[in-house]
């Protein structure tokens, strides 16, 4: 079934606004998505009808808020097919979810002779926590390299890890160039080697059906705001036995069972990891975002993105001198297209596109090791979602060719 994009667009108030006198073409979805009315209304409903702190309130509002908050957790579990809501920890964002694992599991399981294996496609949020952990423990960080079309170099996969490789932390979809990584294959190999695997799902969960049990990952991290939900909510899925053995991350209220003057015992999972009053309103509204995506059907979301990416790739290939990064086949990539003109800086491209109403990301996309390996300071990146159309891609293509002519005319 294909998405009824015109109908979807009506649910997003922001899409009817103009920028610089032109209809907004929002192609910065890999940074954050827009929000449908249903999500915005869920926020308002919470604040207008049952705003209360959760878990310990004896009153009606507190009970309603607690139920809605825990219902959202159950929706998240169902959305990624986690075995139980208890395996779902709410954080602030993907970055905090990864840091949680680095600070708790990492500190207990990574030592001086250990190695943490990353890939060149990682976002800084899946690099820096491991660099810090390695520095603290005297461990090593190593990277899986990439091919000429920015796919992971997996020749000799069976030799990638050895007994020292404690963790493989890998993104399922590259935020910078769109490559979809073969997560299942990597996880299988890692597990054969006794290596734990964290999958950064920030760019996959919003765009394709995710099944953490089928994938068999140990940790999976993603963010609400990239999938129609509010900012300020991230998710860490962890295998139950791992979460149970892990020490708490932040300490304070809510994460304890009993406190004496001398010490405390920890609450059960997942609350052990949710110290302090959580982001109640946004978690509840995130639940509304998941309802919205469920209704569309993630298979349909994915099909729509393949279609628009395929169209974008074919149109962009018409532009002379444009360098397009990532795998050539739309089926091998998320809805992300990163480009450069050899003699134009991505920020200049970004500025010219902006004045044509097209919002893209220009820069290093928090993936400086990848940019360095590409030999560029950055790229201009268009990223698509459920409300984007092929007509919008045409606007992008026209604006890119204008950017080119601006600079061509200035050349000697």
């Amino acid at each position: 079934m294909t998405l009824d994009v015109q109908k979807i667009r009506e649910d997003f108030p922001i899409l009817s606004r103009e920028v610089y006198g032109r209809p907004l073409v929002y192609f910065d979805n890999a940074a954050t998505s827009q929000k449908p009315r249903q999500v915005i209304e869920a926020l308002v409903r919470y604040y207008e009808h049952y705003n209360a702190n959760i878990h310990r309130a004896i009153h009606c509002l507190g009970e309603e808020a607690t139920n809605a908050y825990e219902e959202a957790r159950a929706k998240v579990a169902a959305f990624i097919n986690a075995p139980s809501p208890e395996c779902i920890v709410f954080t602030r964002n993907t970055t905090e979810a990864i840091n949680l694992v680095a600070y708790t599991w990492g500190r207990a399981n990574v030592g001086p002779d250990s190695e943490v294996l990353l890939t060149l496609l990682e976002h800084h949020s899946n690099i820096i926590p491991w660099q810090r952990l390695a520095a603290e423990k005297g461990a090593t960080v190593r990277y899986i390299g990439i091919t000429d079309s920015q796919a992971l170099e997996l020749n000799g996969l069976e030799n990638l890890m050895d007994a020292s490789t404690r963790l493989l932390a890998v993104t399922q979809v590259s935020n910078a160039v769109g490559t979809i990584n073969p997560a299942e294959k990597l996880i299988e190999e890692a597990h054969r080697n006794g290596t734990t695997v964290l999958v950064d799902g920030a760019q996959s969960a919003p765009h394709m059906a995710v099944d953490v049990q089928a994938m068999n990952c140990d940790f999976f991290a993603f963010s609400s705001h990239k999938m129609l939900g509010p900012t300020g909510v991230g998710v860490l899925y962890g295998r139950r036995e791992l979460l149970e053995e892990m020490e708490p991350f932040l300490a304070g209220g809510e994460m304890i069972k009993r406190v004496t003057e001398e010490g405390a015992t920890w609450n059960d999972i997942p609350w052990k990891f949710e110290a302090g009053t959580p982001n109640i309103a946004d978690v509840i509204a995130f639940g509304a975002a998941l309802d919205y995506l469920d209704e569309l059907g993630m298979e349909n979301v994915r099909a729509h993105e393949i279609e628009i990416t395929e169209y974008a790739l074919s149109r962009l290939r018409e532009l002379e001198g444009l360098i397009i990064y990532g795998p050539p086949d739309a089926a091998d990539r998320g809805g992300v297209v990163s480009v450069n003109y050899a003699d134009l800086h991505p920020h200049d491209i970004g500025t010219i596109l902006d004045r044509h109403g097209v919002a893209v990301r220009a820069g290093h996309h928090c993936a400086q090791p990848l940019m360095r390996s590409l030999g560029v300071a950055g790229t201009a990146r268009a990223s698509f979602y459920v409300y984007n159309t092929q007509e919008e891609v045409d606007v992008l293509v026209d604006a890119l060719s204008k950017a080119r002519s601006f600079f061509a005319n200035g050349a000697d």
């Binding site: 006198g21 920020h347 200049d348 044509h356 820069g363 601006f406 600079f407 200035g410």
Partner: protein, 157 residues
Amino acid sequence: MAPTREEEYARQEAELDELYRQVIIDHYRNPRHRGSLPSPTASHEGFNPLCGDEVTVDLLVNGGVIQDVAFNGAGCSISQSSASLMTEAVIGKPVQEAESLIREFTAMMTGSDEIDLEALGDLEALMGVRKFPVRVKCATLAWHTLHEALEEAESGG
């Protein structure tokens, strides 16, 4: 009356034309005094972590006068052309004059109305950046770096 769509489009085109003036693109493509000095009095590296623009300014100061300047770096057309234009503007100038030009240029970029266009000369080509607030930092990077280098030269010599 609100501008028509066509008027708004034309205004945006004009602002882009103003941003990417021939002078800017010429200096971007053919930067002047690009490189480093063999034995500089001071050398300073400027960096804009937001967009990754980098500019290193080498400075040769003698008798309170800037004898030579060279810059190296990587970044967008605005940051690099601004650095190139800057080298031409300050070579041969007394340090005090260069410092006041830095103030004048920064004032222009931050939208001050009391600017001496005559003193700015060719630098006036960068006026168009004012309509693009997120790019102002690109234009001022080299100038902040020059200021740091001048202070370094002062304290070192």
